[in-house]
Symmetry: C2
Subunit: 217 residues, 2 copies
């Protein structure tokens, strides 16, 4: 790995752990095992180094909407939830950084914050659309309110993320919470489905599809 690459990697890690103002070029240089001058030979300023390093984070933030084709609305919702969770688990430290920037509304990372917000919006609108379609085709209950419920699902996912970042002692297994969440959503969206309750209690109209195993991922 050449010097430029090492600098970029060190910068990404340090900026993400400590934030922009708390990270000095000297520290980046030391971490990358080069001189300060070399850092500024490759990148014209601290800020441009920051921006360039952030591209490392932003690149993987994309949604693969095509993978949803051929799934039922309920499966689509669950897939989106799982994808969101997987993405977070895989990029935890950079997600933590981005969230920090978003919460702080750091001026230095305006691009980053805008990008994150945009992605969030797209994700939510995708959820809304699916909820609308599911309700229209009677897969989901008529009480479903697409816009609000999509926002609530996103909120819960983000909340689970924050919880995961915050809780030092793993009091709850996040995987288990996610399963519980999906189960809750399922009951909420499709109240006609038997949950852990005797099926005899319910007599609603049947959904127009059958469901297989509920085993996790």
């Amino acid at each position: 790995m050449d010097a430029r690459e090492r600098i970029l990697e060190a910068a990404a890690r340090l900026f993400s752990n400590q934030g922009y103002p708390a990270t000095s070029l000297a520290q980046v240089a030391r971490t990358a095992r080069v001189s300060k001058a070399l850092v500024l030979w490759y990148f014209e300023s601290k800020e441009s180094l920051f921006r360039t390093a952030l591209q490392h984070f932003l690149t993987p933030y994309e949604i693969d909407a095509h993978a949803l084709l051929g799934l039922t609305e309920r499966e689509q919702i669950e897939k989106l939830i799982d994808d969101y969770y997987d993405f977070i688990a895989e990029h935890l430290s950079s997600v933590q950084f981005v969230l920090g920037q978003v919460v702080r509304q750091d001026e230095n990372s305006h691009e980053l914050v805008t990008h994150a917000r945009e992605l969030y919006r797209v994700y939510r609108e995708l959820l809304t659309t699916i909820l609308e379609r599911g309700r229209a085709s009677r897969v989901f209950a008529p009480q479903v309110r697409p816009a609000e419920d999509a926002a609530l699902i996103m909120a819960a996912l983000n909340g689970l993320l924050v919880q995961q970042l915050v809780e030092s002692e793993r009091e709850c297994d996040p995987q288990e919470l996610l399963a519980r969440f999906k189960s809750t959503i399922r009951t909420q969206l499709c109240p006609s489905l038997p949950e852990d309750v005797p099926a005899a209690l319910r007599t609603d109209t049947l959904p127009h599809e059958t469901f297989g195993q509920r085993a996790g991922r």
Copy 2:
């Protein structure tokens, strides 16, 4: 307001908006309309100023558990949710700051982060207890899982907070989302209650109490 007070207030605002490293004593002094030296006359160092200023944030972070006495479990849950939301609305900028510190796990605010985490834990355990009692007394459905559902409620609340902080263009009214959330919880906890669905569909056992109006706060 005397100089010390002005310094403290300026410090609280600036630290909370810009973070610790990006805020200089000169800026604090300018904002408080005093000299740099005076700041360090009252506070022995930048870090001690930071810590002292943070007490302003931490003070109001308390839970009034006594106010829950005499309410039904369902009302207790809703009251806790409303209180949480009200608190956030009232202290939005400091909550934003604390959340930023928590997410970043800033070393400078270890006390702060610990306090916030502790408060969060207490809040969640309170919810868990109420859910347990409600389930035991058959006010809540037997499917309720106290620990997990308490965590999910907290997650959703925190997610709504993040959403509120993040969304520049108010696409959804947070008040409306909260109402929808409470309504969702209600259906989830007490599936025997008629929601927007014809009561004829349900035949479960009745809760041991009656419910009055559903009007908001």
